[in-house]
Subunit: 333 residues, 2 copies
Amino acid sequence: MGKHTAFFHNRPTIAATYSVAGKKEGDGPIGKVFDYVFEDEYFGEKTFEKAECKMLSTAINGGISSCGCGKSDIDAIVSGDLLNQIVSASFAARDYNIPYIGIYNACSTMSEGLAIAAALTDGGYMSRVAVATSSHFSTAERQYRYPLELGSVRPPQSQWTVTGAGCAIVSAGGKGPAITAATFGKVVDYGITDANNMGAAMAPAAMDTLITHFRETGRTPSYYDLIVTGDLGAFGSRVLKHITGENGYDISFNHVDCGEIIYNIDEDEYQGGSGAGCSAIVFNSYIYRKLKDREINRVLFLATGALLSTITTQQGESIPCISHAVAVENEAL
Amino acid sequence: MGKHTAFFHNRPTIAATYSVAGKKEGDGPIGKVFDYVFEDEYFGEKTFEKAECKMLSTAINGGISSCGCGKSDIDAIVSGDLLNQIVSASFAARDYNIPYIGIYNACSTMSEGLAIAAALTDGGYMSRVAVATSSHFSTAERQYRYPLELGSVRPPQSQWTVTGAGCAIVSAGGKGPAITAATFGKVVDYGITDANNMGAAMAPAAMDTLITHFRETGRTPSYYDLIVTGDLGAFGSRVLKHITGENGYDISFNHVDCGEIIYNIDEDEYQGGSGAGCSAIVFNSYIYRKLKDREINRVLFLATGALLSTITTQQGESIPCISHAVAVENEAL
């Protein structure tokens, strides 16, 4: 069996982060930690798609500024989003005189990008890489499900796509929390076909990567202060704890899911937040700050993605899922 | 300005390749070099999308076999395609117990993937990485343009989406042509809005990456035996030669475009082939064999991509383009 975990020995650091969130997310329980909250869901643009693109640019610009460097100091933008042909990322990248590496693993894109950026900087190929991803409730809803105007009733196991964009600047050397390892996930498909029940579909993928990570690193759950998944939601998070526990790894004491903490759970959101922007804004604000402030020192971050499209659903396919894990750690004092 | 070129000093090699092509491609001028040609455009599946997915699996399996190794020797599959949410790649990856890194830069995905795989292997993070991409005339046509049944007339500047999938196995060390450098492209947009005129839209992106490559490596066009672009087509290739020449780099003597050589140009194909599968099958058969046989020893391969979607076209956006370059070289005897 090939090895799934890459170790980064030169401490590629997350030098800075930035998060851009919509009003609903800004009103949520961790809303105060987002760097920028906008009120109008069009973000001053004519279409939701252009709004999403602007969110992503705003996050990238914010990351670069927070890093104390300029655009010319960034060697690449590693970015992707949920729209067909990842157009938010591609159109955002158009405004920079910086190489663009487009990636897509659905809502696992943030941790996928961090892993790629860690390899590019740790290996000495680049000095600083901006990793960014986004989602927008209104672009995702009309692409994946139904026109908003239809007013479809949402089933209780559904989640709410987060409007937000997050960016991390990964730097060769320097100070700050470092990406010390990445476990790349494989595709896991348990045959679930309900596109409204993503949390349950994605939990086995998160478990697979988690257990692979523990086996290949020799670590146990207690090595980490927090094990953070992307957007399993409340139900999916319970599923993950349960099935991981059954396999001998108890994560019930230190597991948190970004989708579960982003909203005050009420009728609309049901199981919590989802979308590539969900883990992107929570990791690049709430989690990153806790690391910077040394409230926590070791985090395993696993964004989780469902790799379906409307056409695969129409053709009766089940939902393949994936999760990539990155270990982010402070240096011992 | 950041550096756009990464140098790989540990000679990550392309240990093996495999190409799967449709009947039309098999009947073309270089049809005999493809490893596998299938007659039925459904490839024995019920839908064109499932056929594309099977093409990709066939290419990955072929690459692994040609390499003389097993699936368990592959540390990651780096793959993407043109379908929404790159579902061909994701669903193909489902059949392997191997980490999956989804990427998307439209028809520039093959060289993007080779560059990422080179970094992952050269840096010591992985031993062997399968890089694969595909396109299928019938899936692309109905997603990007019109239903096939409509029988729309194609304008003379249009190209024909290649049905094909290619795979390269990039290996840490070993024998064979090595990826010695990669120049990552930035997004270039000259304001072209005609989705039937991709060659002209993409040529400036190829030029930008080419010139950046020459400047950052100190090389001139004559360093290479061949400078291979992806799918500019006949007109786009002429545009590239012209504008690159105007900037002081004459590539007229050693430039070839995969899209230009894949078909016997007649009425249907107009400017030649396009699609992520175009450069994937030409590079992973015709070009790779010439390298292996030492007919040529230094190749610069620039797959070229147009980063549009139907929604950006509908919203009146122009076409952002990109091209990533990889230098593939034999060791001196």
